[in-house]
Amino acid sequence: MNILVYSFFFFSPQVYTINLESRYLLIQGVPALGVMKELIEQFALYGAIEEYHALDEYPAEQFTEVYLIKFQKLQCARVAKKKMDERSFFGSLLHVCYAPEFETVQETREKLQDRRKYIAKATNQRECFLLKKIEGPKKTVSKNSEHDCPWSTSGSCAASNWDPSCFTSSHRVSHNTGYASGNHNQSLLAFPQYDNSCAETSGYFGQNTSLTLSVHPGGHTPPTSLMQRTVLIDNGVDRFMPRTTHLQERKRKREEGNKFSLIGTSVDSTEVIIGPQLPQVPKVDMDDDSLNTSATLIRNKLKEVADSVSRTSVQKPESSSAKPLVKQRRRI
């Protein structure tokens, strides 16, 4: 009886296999606030990150961005996903799912092989793998990954921001291209929709918490060299601002500028004007008293009209004070 209730709680069930897992994590719902550095730092708490970049082409909700993070170890990706999925991040709920569709053939091969090794270890069977040829190319890789999340490589992690569209300064371009040329394009060509498995993942982890935790007993408690890593990231990448944020920022500045120019024309006695005054409209002598009187009248009338227009447009945002407040809050 108990079980029935328990299982109905997870509406559409999903079975998790090694095929669905990946070192690649897709992070959706990242607010477009130029917080990539913070995002990566947050994820790096769970293990060394090999590559990361924004997926500009990936369908995303308004004002959010999608990032792809490749961990060095599957186990790190597993923990990161578990900890970060449905987590609030700068006021937005992150959605984290595995993205095995970004794997190369070799990465898929290694993933399957790692599972083979893990089961062999866990069930205490030193099975001799019948496929010697896999062992060959793998040796160098597995030697490195023998230590969980080798921190020595974290320096290069920080530099591995390889999304070409993200570069905001020429300095960073030169900084990156040298490193990234190898895997620059490979995984960005196709973005197959792969959402079916994502929704229920948290449910799975919820129900199997004790199991997934115990899957890898030799576990990965966040190492003490964490601080060192964060520092490295700081050194490697300046504060990053994605293009969309740049555009938003520019738009906001433009709007702000317009607002101020309007305020400037309204003669407010309490306002302190700083800086040089705009040149006054030259008073033209019409060589005739009656014409001059008419000109002054017209000039005054024009000024009156202009003032009333600017006053209403200034008053508008004040009257609906909620609106600019919301706008400002997004700029935290």
């Binding site: 079980i3 079975v15 090694i18 069930t123 019948l130 199997n208 199991l211 899957v215």
Partner: protein, 182 residues
Amino acid sequence: MELGRLEYLQALVTEFQVTDSPEAKEQVLANLANFAYDPKNYEYLRQLQVLDLFLDMLAEDNETLVEFAIGGLCNLCLDKTNKDYILEANGVESIINCLSSSNEETVMSAVTTLMYLTTPQSRQQTTALPVVECMLRFSLSASRRLSNLATVFLEDYCTPLQVEEARNLSKHTAVGIPLPKD
């Protein structure tokens, strides 16, 4: 604590057998298949004959049950004892049948399970000509996950001769089985 685990799994199996609701069956089978991911549960799952349960479900009409059952097998088939059991029970045949499923997850699990079940003894069966042919088609799939998996199968589990043979065969039979839906 460990006794609790066995009892819990036993309750799941009982629930699966007793319930008439297809949804409940799917839920419970999914639970069992997820428990099959952790080697800690293998002993209990064998005790409760969950391997037979998974194998039986492969013949079901309900696609979801098949998907979960093959997922469960994929999760536990690397263990030596489980592997021997599945091979003994002639499970390879029904696993190969899963390759023609329209459900991509079912196909993916079947491909991986076949790789994991391949031993010098079972090789002839797991890499039979129709299987290699299937893998050739999958390796051209638009789904990168499937094409990657099929490529690994062809490169690591088949001899170049087998691949060549399958390639020649598929040349003559241009009309293939449709690829699984995404």
